[in-house]
């Protein structure tokens, strides 16, 4: 990995004119990350369908390509060839804008996620804050989709999405305060680099809160109320078809992958090999050279857990969902902050900075 980075930097330094060099230096990593994520999404869709099929004692896609790997590509082609229908009384502009607003933030946040040592598009000082600012734009897109479709089911889905996002974003962010306290930085790269001991050991409760809230943020079972098919047909995307629907569909998978990536980065040492700082030179080399692999393995692990949960749990009810966030998760997050602060202030063991 480091070799690749060196080659890339070498080529970049050959370009004489500085503004052009800076421009290319921004465009290339962004495009490579975006294409990596989009490529991974096709793998994710296949993996989800195969794993959920395994849980549900059936086969899943197994016709196209080896073990059905190309099924997602066929589906993508199908969905692109479909007619793009806009309902007659829909708000045309918002209706077309909504899928973009859901899709783009999902990709955009990957510019802040370090996928390997030094492999990050932009290391922003307050990266964590920026990350959640961007990703919460998705909710706006869902609300727009629900409103502009001129469909009651869509509207209900949109309303539920907003109510859910507002309730769950608070404990989500509060659960990360402990990590920020222990790291002393809002930069995601710093958070990874300071995890000689993974944050999950220091902050297990925070991880529980974070994972639950993230599930809710990405609208997965058991919190998939905005698109609960048994009640709201398909929720906010009922009226969408063709490529616009594909954008919602892809955004959902990208967001779920983001969930896994965030768990990895914030709690499980990101691109670092387990206990690399205790393995001496070997551990460091493993982390630095194969960072992308560790990142991907860990992220897929969390993605698989999300699928596992989908295969096991029923859906909660909206009022129970709200009660869970405000009555249990929020106080728990506050207690977690208090305890972490006290431990950090007195510098107990691993909590000393």
């Amino acid at each position: 990995m480091e070799v690749l980075l060196k080659i890339y930097e070498g080529i970049l330094s050959l370009i004489p004119f500085e503004p052009v060099r800076n421009g290319i230096g921004l465009i290339v990593p962004t495009l490579s990350i975006a294409s990596m994520v989009l490529g991974v999404v096709f793998l994710l869709i296949w993996w989800e369908r195969r794993l959920i099929a395994f849980i549900q004692v059936r086969l899943g896609p197994n016709r196209l390509g080896p073990a059905g790997l190309f099924q997602s590509f066929a589906d993508a082609l199908k969905v692109m060839l479909k007619e793009d229908i806009v309902p007659k009384d829909a708000d045309q502009i918002l209706f077309s804008l909504a899928p973009v607003l859901v899709f783009v933030p999902g990709l955009l946040v990957y510019s802040l996620v370090p996928v390997g040592n030094g492999m990050v598009v932009s290391n922003v000082g307050s990266g964590l804050l920026l990350f959640f600012s961007i990703s919460s734009l998705t909710t706006l897109g869902i609300m727009m989709a629900g409103w502009s479709s001129n469909n009651k089911y869509s509207l209900m889905g949109g309303i539920r999405a907003v109510a859910q996002a507002i309730s769950y974003e608070i404990p989500l962010l509060l659960s990360l305060v402990g990590i920020i306290l222990l790291t002393g930085s809002l930069s995601i790269v710093d958070i990874v680099e300071k995890q000689d001991i993974w944050n999950i050991i220091k902050q297990p409760i925070a991880f529980f809160i974070f994972f639950t809230c993230s599930l809710s943020e990405v609208n997965r079972i058991p919190f998939d109320l905005p698109e609960a098919e048994s009640e709201l047909v398909s929720g906010y995307n009922t009226e969408y078809s063709g490529f616009k629907f594909a954008m919602f569909f892809l955004a959902e998978y990208i967001n779920t992958f983001t969930l896994g990536a965030l768990c990895t980065v914030l709690f499980f040492g990101g691109w670092r090999f387990p206990f690399d700082s205790y393995l001496g030179e070997v551990g460091m080399q493993l982390s630095n050279q194969l960072g992308l692999v560790w990142f991907f393995v860990k992220t897929m692990f969390f993605f698989s857990i999300v699928i596992w949960i989908r295969g096991t749990l029923p859906r909660v009810r909206p009022d129970q969902l709200m009660a869970f966030a405000w009555k249990y998760l929020l106080p728990l997050a506050l207690v977690n902050i208090l305890v972490t602060t006290l431990l950090a202030a007195y510098g107990f063991g691993v909590f000393s900075r």
Binding site: K152, A228, E229, V233, T312, L313, P314, D319
Partner: protein, 369 residues
């Protein structure tokens, strides 16, 4: 200072093409936010004039149509019809045929309850249980295919017996299935019963008081879920049901969870009946006399009912002495049960519609006929 929020009721038209109305039920739901204010079920989208068809065909030609009354538990739809014809015509049924009828009826009861379990959990958002339930249902369907040659519309019972004797080794297969199935029910309960989300979705939801069930003539697991110990098989025994030893499970307060528990326990009791029936089945013919294609029964009328998976399934048959019925009237359990729906759904949450309606186990073809 107080701010008054003015909220407006929204009318949602659920169905007839909705993913979880189990067919073509239409519910006109008035909601205030997430709370239901008024529900009006609209039925009739699946009306196939099954009762009228009886007046055009002779008894033999009409019989395949009967399967279509309730295509999830077919034998339960066939049985009251043959019973009514046998009662008016005084047709004798051999004992072996009665036992085979019991075995097939209990197998279809398990089939129907499994299908209910799967769709009920699907309505609650759990996608896995239906696959497990259909896996076991498939085994019963295979058994029935071996016996009747059909996987769905069996057309197996005959006036005065059953179509054909059981194939060799079939009864052993049923017994093997019973043992296997008891293990599988435990597996479902491991997956479902201790799931906190499931419990919070179904406990204390859709409570039907004891007085209300009898007022609306509700029957089957809904009646028993509300704590009324009534089962046609026990209280008005037909066929050879009085020879078997089985319990009637009852619920305590009549919420959605009680109806779930009652159905799960009923599957266990069905297995008990199946085991006894397989052990007791006597040798002999299973159709005493093959009736001619256009046989006639004397004029008269009869009402016969059986305990279908959804409750009392009855047929009122009026004969005018020809080979065609003068009038056939079905008393179907889902139709009676559906009437409670608007009262139970009032002031529930929108998400509860599917939990409560799912627990009713309504089969739309049975409502509309």
């Amino acid at each position: 200072m107080s701010i008054e929020f003015k909220s407006e009721e929204m009318t949602i038209n659920m169905g007839p093409h909705h993913p979880s109305t189990h067919g073509v039920l239409r519910l006109i739901v008035k909601i205030d936010g997430e709370v239901i204010r008024h529900v009006e079920p609209v039925i009739g989208y699946l009306h196939r004039s099954i009762e009228r068809l009886a007046q055009d065909r002779n008894y033999f030609m009409y019989f395949p149509v009967v399967d279509r009354v309730d295509y999830v538990s077919i034998i339960a739809a066939e049985w009251p019809m043959v019973m009514a014809v046998e009662k008016i015509g005084g047709i004798e049924v051999p004992e072996r045929a009665e036992y085979i009828r019991v075995i097939t009826a209990e197998l279809t009861r398990i089939m129907s309850h499994l299908f209910w379990l799967g769709t009920f959990m699907l309505d609650l958002g759990s996608t896995t249980v239906i696959m497990y339930a259909l896996r076991e249902r498939e085994k019963i369907v295979d058994l029935m295919e071996e016996l009747t040659g059909q996987r769905m519309m069996f057309n197996y019972l005959r006036y005065g017996g059953v179509n054909a004797d059981v194939p060799e080794g079939w009864l052993q297969k049923v017994k093997g299935f019973c043992d296997y199935f008891l293990r599988m029910i435990d597996e479902y309960e491991i997956l479902i019963n201790k799931n906190p989300i499931f419990i919070s979705r179904v406990k204390d939801i859709g409570i039907i008081p004891k007085e209300m069930v009898s007022k609306y003539g509700a029957c089957g697991p809904i009646l028993r879920g509300s704590g009324v110990k009534y089962d046609v098989r026990k209280d008005e025994p037909y066929s050879v049901y009085d020879r078997f030893d089985f319990d009637i499970p009852v619920g305590e307060k009549g919420d959605t969870f009680d109806r779930y528990v009652v159905r799960m326990e009923e599957m266990r009791q069905s297995v008990r009946i199946l085991k006894q029936a397989v052990d007791q089945i006597p040798p002999g013919p299973c159709l005493k006399k093959k009736l001619s294609f256009s046989f006639k029964i004397p004029a008269g009328d009869a009402y016969c009912q059986v305990e279908a998976p959804r409750g009392n399934m009855g047929v009122y048959l009026m004969s005018n002495g020809t080979n065609t019925a003068a009038r056939v009237k079905y008393r179907t359990p889902s139709y009676a049960n559906m009437q409670i729906l608007p009262h139970v759904l009032k002031d529930a949450f929108l998400s509860d519609i599917m939990a409560i309606f799912g627990s009713f186990d309504v089969i739309l073809p049975e409502v509309d006929r």
